[in-house]
Each structure stands twice: as structure tokens, then as C-alpha cells.
Subunit: 107 residues, 2 copies
Amino acid sequence: MGITKTQIFTDKQNDLAQFFKVLGHPARVAILQYISSQNACVCSDLVDEIGLAQATISQHLKELKSINLLKGEIDGKSMCYCINVERWSEIQEQLNAFFNNAKLNCC
Amino acid sequence: MGITKTQIFTDKQNDLAQFFKVLGHPARVAILQYISSQNACVCSDLVDEIGLAQATISQHLKELKSINLLKGEIDGKSMCYCINVERWSEIQEQLNAFFNNAKLNCC
DNA sequence: AAATAACATCGTAATATTGCAATATATAGT
DNA sequence: ACTATATATTGCAATATTACGATGTTATTT
């Protein structure tokens, strides 16, 4: 087995979980923190900054792009990866909705 | 090699990622949603509600407990799993800090 | 004390993730 | 065209996760 049974959950549950999953790696947290602390960012900076191989960083960036948290623009011969502000806010709202939805009067 | 290099990240980054990781499964999202929609909860309800085997639900509950999001109290011969309100709020704040920390004036 | 009920844990098979070397691709400068 | 630089992709080995049947544990009921 070992395969997640996505079909028994709602799309919302799967989407939310997918988002959490992508953020569930310290390298990806670190990448987001670093990118958001700069005004722009190129991947070679990240390789130096994070301390993982270039192939590995590139893979993590791909996953962050897969949920639209980053947008990458070609800037000469390097890439400029930036936070996708709209998506970022949208997700923050979704998370707050998730948290606030919890009725807290139990036990 | 398949092992996450936690040692190259800060404790905060690892903690945040660990939290995201635990929530990064639709079954655990569904469990939290269901528990928070009730005032109390026993595991057998969850098995019916979610549609995974009892052993699997039990495992997911264990992971949610590992980040202190749930507290379980023994209630006769069954368990009452509840949201840990303090921890829940604490994490929500941490996430908002993470999101708000992003400077959004890039590109 | 035996049977039942409600979880928890163990063991294991299937699948996913992580990390990197090697290689591919694309652009800039010479 | 050639070389250097920057990033992406591929392939693979090591490890982690998911799911569940079987079994263990603990408390209630009879």
C-alpha cells in the first residue's frame, strides 16, 4: 500500500494537505524565508545560503512552484524567483479559516 | 540519499517544517476538521467518519499528538481526543508571523 | 475470571521523498 | 562557433511514509 487514499477526501482537504506537505520541509521553509527577505533572488544565492546541492535546491524550488507560491522570471542567464503575493495571501487566509473554524470549547 | 539534512537548518525552521509536515496529509486535515466540529470525539467515530482502518487512524492520531495539537483523555474504555487550544493558537500565531514576515515588494 | 470493546503497537508491503552526481539546456560573453 | 555560467532534468540509492492485518493492552461488563 503506502499510497495516500486521496479519493476518500474532499478536494479542499486534499488541497490544504498538499499545501502543508510542500511547506513540510525545512529547506523549503528556509528558501521562502530567504527569498522573502530579499527583493529578488537567484538560485545560486540559495545554493550558497542553504547548503544543499544545486540539483536539490532546484527540485525544492520546483515543488514550491507547483503550488504557485513562487513565480520565476528569467533574468539574463539566471533566474529570479519571487514570492507570488496573491497566492501567498490567499493561502494565509485559507489557513486562518481552517484554524478559526475549530470550535474551541471541547473537554 | 533520502534523509532530510535537519542539521543544516535552524530549530525554528525544523519545527515549522515538522508542523507543516504533520498537517500535510488529507486524513489528518480531515481528523482535525471532524474533531473541531464536535465537542468531544472518540476514535471509533473517526474510523467510520474518515474511512480508513482503525490502525491507520490510530497512527495518524499519534502524529497529531506528536506536535501537541491534540490531547487525548481516557474516558472509560474509550479515548476522548480533543484539540489542544493553547497549542492551536500558538501555531496559528507562528504561521501568521511566518507569512507576514515576507516582504512583498519583490519583482 | 472470561468475554467484549476500544484503542495502541508491531510487522510488513507498496509507494513516496530526499539528495546528489551526471547530464542536458539555455543564455552571455569572447 | 566556443566557452563559461546558471539552472533544469534524469537516474538512482537511501530513507521515510502510508496503510492494514495481526496481535497486544487496558478497562468494562457479565
